[in-house]
Every structure is written in C-alpha cells, then in structure tokens.
C-alpha cells in the first residue's frame, strides 16, 4: 500500500551559543512510513526524541536535513494549497489532555473556533458538533463546561474530536493515554481503534508503554539517542473487549 506520510533520512540538530557553538543531535537519519489504516508505534526512553520526531512529521517543526513526503509530494516543494491540505491532513494529539484546551474557553467555544476556521456556515455548527461529539462518545452537556471542570479522559476526547473535525488522514498521537486512569485509558484506546477502522486513519503512536504499543501498532520503532535502534512488526491483538458505549 502506498505510504501516506514518509520520512526519509530526517535529522535534527540543535545549535546553541553565538561563538562557541554547541551541537546537539536530537535525531539522526530517521526513516519511516505511515500507511492508511495502520499504526506505527514509536518507543524509547525519555529524551530520545520521540515527541520531536512527531512534531516534525506533523509539520510543526522543521528538520535540519532529510525529506518528508506527504501523499507522494515532498514538503519543501509544495505550493500553498498543497501545504494547506497537508496541514489539515496531518494532525497531532498531545500528551497532557487538559493542557491541549484553553482553560479560559468553554468546550463549545473551543469547538466553535475550529468550525469558524474551517469556514463551515454557522447554521450547520450545531449539527456538525453533535455528530462529532457522538463519534467520540461525549454528551452535549459538556459544551458549556470549561476544561478544568471535566475529567482528563473527556478532555482527551474533546481534543480528539477537534482534530477529527479537520478530517485528517494521519494522526500523530503523543502519549495519548499516559496521563489517564486505567479504565479511561482502555476506553480511549478502543475508541482510537474504532476510529481507525471506520475512517482509515494512519496513526503514529508515541508511547513509553510497550503494552499499549503492542495493542495498537502493527509496526514498532524504538528510538534511542536519536537513532532507530530497532524496527519490528508486532502481532496486534484483536481486543476481546466491548465497544465503548458512552452514556455520559
């Protein structure tokens, strides 16, 4: 299958200091591929550059060298409309769920601003929001609350829902469940799997927990000191669990 997002020999070097420059090689020669409907797991000890790699693939940070290809086109050579399409198609969900939402904006406002940015006519907002909430398993009661008043799991669902509004093709998940309780973690992971099945999303799952990676990913990459030390395929479990029916 054709890879939707590909990294070729990506490296990132941090330089600091004016006269006596200190070089720190955060990433060295990373190459990987993400395919629709499949998950690649990224593991490694903290500080090994996993989040940085995720940000580079999402287009938030730029590598010092190497090439990123999206749907066959190289990032540096894209024109404006292609770049916009890339930005929408590759999204990132961050680790701290409450931190991803502005604490001063109600959930409704946080969602509305995304809808406004997507230039969806305001008449359709109610409808679109309702469908999105249903997809991530949240009730409309949450809309008038603030991030500080809802649980971490619900925050993570809102963050995920906002990302889904952009109809992405790739989602980079940076430790999506490490700040969550066990039962919520199970719910979110199953939700992610369901979404992948229904929407054909490609995931890059960054996690330090090997059991999470084994549950979700078909391929595992281990980063150490900025370099790939291991690349293997995992046998993904098919979970015997229930579908997450979320009432509240």
């Amino acid at each position: 299958m054709l890879a939707i997002l590909k990294a070729e020999d990506v490296s990132l070097v941090y330089e600091s200091g004016l006269i006596f420059k200190k070089r720190h090689e955060a990433l060295k020669g990373i190459s990987l591929q993400l395919q629709p409907g499949k998950t690649v797991g990224l593991m490694g000890p903290s500080g090994s550059g996993k989040t940085t790699l995720g940000k580079i693939l999402a287009g938030i940070e730029r590598p010092t060298s190497g090439r990123i290809f999206f749907a066959g086109r190289e990032l540096g050579t894209m024109n404006k409309s292609e770049t916009t399409a890339f930005r929408k198609a590759v999204q990132m969900v961050f680790q701290d769920p409450e931190g991803s939402l502005n604490p001063k904006k109600s959930i409704e406002q946080s969602i509305a601003e995304v809808l406004a940015m997507l230039k969806i006519p305001s008449g359709r907002w109610k409808d679109v929001t309702g469908r999105m909430l249903e997809k991530v398993g949240l009730s409309e009661e949450l809309l008038c609350r603030y991030p500080g008043q809802i649980s971490g799991g619900q925050c993570q669902r809102v963050a995920l829902g906002r990302v889904l509004l952009l109809q992405p093709q790739v989602i980079i998940l940076d430790e999506p469940t490490s700040a969550l309780d066990i039962s919520v973690q199970a719910q979110i992971l199953n939700l992610l799997k369901e979404l992948q099945r229904d929407l054909g999303l490609a995931y890059l799952l960054i996690s330090h927990q090997s059991n999470v990676i084994r549950f979700m990913a078909q391929e595992t990459i281990v980063l150490e000191g900025g370099m790939i030390s291991e690349q293997s395929s995992t046998y993904s479990h098919s979970s015997p669990g229930n579908k997450p029916q979320n009432i509240a």
Binding site: P45, S46, Q149, S151, G152, G153, Q154, D181, I182, S183, V184, Q185, A186, Q187, L189, N190, H208, Q209, N211, V212, F215, H237, S239, P240, G241, N242, P244, Q245, N246, I247, A248
Partner: protein
C-alpha cells in the same frame, strides 16, 4: 510483600470516615463511610482511579485538608481519635509516629538546603539527636536507598532527578522510624524499573522497622506486588477489601472485576460510561449505571458484606471474609 506473621494487632482503625468539601459548585462528597483497619507490620493499598477519594482519606487522617473540608468519623490510633486531636498534638504525631510521603518530591523538598541536611534535620529537630549522629544516620539511610556517598549528601534537590528526590523524601520520612507510613502515589513520575526498585527498598526498610504502610496508588500491579491487603475505592466508597493476591485472582465486586479487565495484560477491555458526579451522586449503588450485573435492589445502597472463606487474616492462618459492598453477596 511482608513476611511478618508475629503480631497482627490493628494499629490504625478508620471508622465511617466521611469527607465533603464546600466549593463554588456545591458540596463535593469526596469520601463516604470509609472504614478499614491497618494492622501492625502490614501493607494496605488503597486503590482506585482519579477522584475516588483515596488521597483525601490519607490527608484527612493526618488533618492536612484545607479549611473548607468537613470531616466525620473516627481514626483511632494508639487508643486516640486522630480527628479529634488539636494541632499541637497532631504535629507531634506527624513525622515521628505517622509519616506521609507525597506525590511531588521535587516540590516537597527545600531547594536551598542540601539533601543530606534535610534528611538529618528530621532527626535533629524531632528527636534532638546530635548533628554528627544525625548525619551518619542520614548517610546510612540514603545509601540503603541507592544514593551512596558523601558527594550525594552534599548536593541540592535540583541536581537530583525526580526518582532520586523521591528516595530522599522516603529517607526523610522513614528516618524517624514512624509506626505508620502513608505513601501517596510514590511511584508516580518514575519509570517502571525505578519504581520497582524504590518500592522494594521502601518495603525492606518497612519490614526492618516493623512499621505499617498505607499505600495509595492507581497502579494495580504495584499494589499487587507490594501490598498484603488491598481496598478498592470507587466514588468515595470502599467497594472491596481483601488480600491483594486473592482479589486479583478472584475479584468479587463488579467494579473490581471490570477494572482488572482494563489492565493491559487483560486486553484493555473498557468499562462503559463514566464515573458519576461527586456533587450529586446517585442514591443507591454508585456503580449501577455501568454495572453488567445490576438489578432493582441496587437502587438502595448496599452495606459491606463479608464473604466467608475467601481470605486469610493478616498475620495468622485463620480465615476471615473478604468484604464487598454489593447486593450479589
């Protein structure tokens, strides 16, 4: 796991502890009718998810809750109700007889005092030990926890990693040989292997001094490895208490069973729904909306039922029941 079998007398008895907070949104019932017994030399784990009230229970025992908390019930230690003591008495007990280790070690340590001094200070101030003697004891304590050498003693907390600071906190709390240690999420922020090491060391020191450990954690596997008995909390109530190993092998309460199924080892099977509001909790069993075995009678709050023959009492071979809060038993 503790291997002390000698004396199984209870050292701390919590009876019907209820805590509620006044907030702008209403009264939050953080804990309701929590009752359990901690025996001498045992490790009891209070297990549950965020918001179930386990940290609140620990803080309330030590009278460390903020002003807007209302506490009812009794916490009997050495024949006295801790909740009724005044601040002066409480501050005598805190640290020397009951020690509490908090979650964020880097925040709990004084950044401008050297690590060795902070640990030794406990002995100097509380027990009036001589400076040299205190430093020696501190040195021993820290080496036992893996922080060896004079150089480490003279460093400041900011030079240590989170895990090392956690060990310093543990040393500072255990140096006075308290009879009860309350550890609130001691392994949070530590990597798997390091957490195991630190907990093993804690268990070793605890066994040596014969102290009891009340462990508060959301990590079920840690609870199983370290504790003798486990109390599972949901929405401010204890729903099951018994021997840890046995709860894992045969959970009785539907919530415990569902929670164990969420574990990675069992395939991340989710529990449908989410926990109820703590401001307006449902009357009757709080787990009913999500329980696969719920029925009509669950609309009334069940009491703790003792299921015979499921557990052995701590420190002896007599069999006592497992306690479950469910109409099924």
């Amino acid at each position: 796991m503790s291997a002390i079998l000698a004396d199984a007398a209870p050292i701390l008895q919590i009876e019907d502890l209820s805590v509620s907070f006044d907030t702008a949104a209403g009264q939050v019932k953080a804990a309701e009718n929590v009752s359990f017994v901690l025996h001498r030399g045992e490790t009891l784990a209070l297990v549950g998810e965020t918001g179930c009230g386990k940290s609140v229970v620990a803080s309330s025992i030590m009278q460390l809750l903020p002003g807007n908390a209302h506490i009812q019930g009794r916490a009997v230690y050495a024949g006295r109700d801790l909740l009724g003591l005044d601040e002066r008495e409480m501050s005598r007990i805190r640290g020397s007889e009951i020690a509490i280790v908090f979650q964020n070690p880097s925040l709990a340590l004084n950044p401008i005092i050297r690590v060795g001094d902070q640990v030794a200070e406990m002995l100097r101030v509380r027990k009036g030990a001589a400076a040299v003697e205190a430093m020696q004891k501190a040195r021993d304590m820290l080496s036992g926890l893996g922080l060896q050498g004079e150089k480490k003693m003279r460093m400041y907390p900011f030079q240590f990693s989170g895990g090392m600071n956690q060990r310093v906190m543990i040393a500072a709390s255990m140096i006075l040989s308290p009879r009860i240690i309350i550890a609130d999420e001691p392994s949070k922020g530590l990597d798997g292997a390091l957490a195991k090491e630190v907990m093993a060391e804690m268990a070793r020191i605890k066994n040596q001094s014969g102290a009891s450990l009340l462990l508060i954690t959301h990590d079920l596997n840690l609870a199983r490895d370290i504790s003798d008995r486990m109390a599972v909390m949901y929405c401010g109530e204890i729903v099951e208490i018994g021997r840890s190993e046995e709860i894992f092998n045969k959970p009785l309460h539907p919530y415990t069973a569902a929670l164990l199924d969420c574990l990675p080892e069992r395939g991340f099977q989710p529990i449908p729904g989410s926990s109820p509001s703590m401001i307006n909790p449902p009357s009757g069993c709080k787990f009913l909306p999500r329980c696969p075995k719920g029925s009509e009678r669950c609309n009334r709050m069940p009491g703790m039922a003792t299921v015979e023959g499921m557990s052995t009492a701590f420190g002896s071979s007599e069999s006592i029941g497992r306690e479950v809060r469910c109409w099924l038993y």
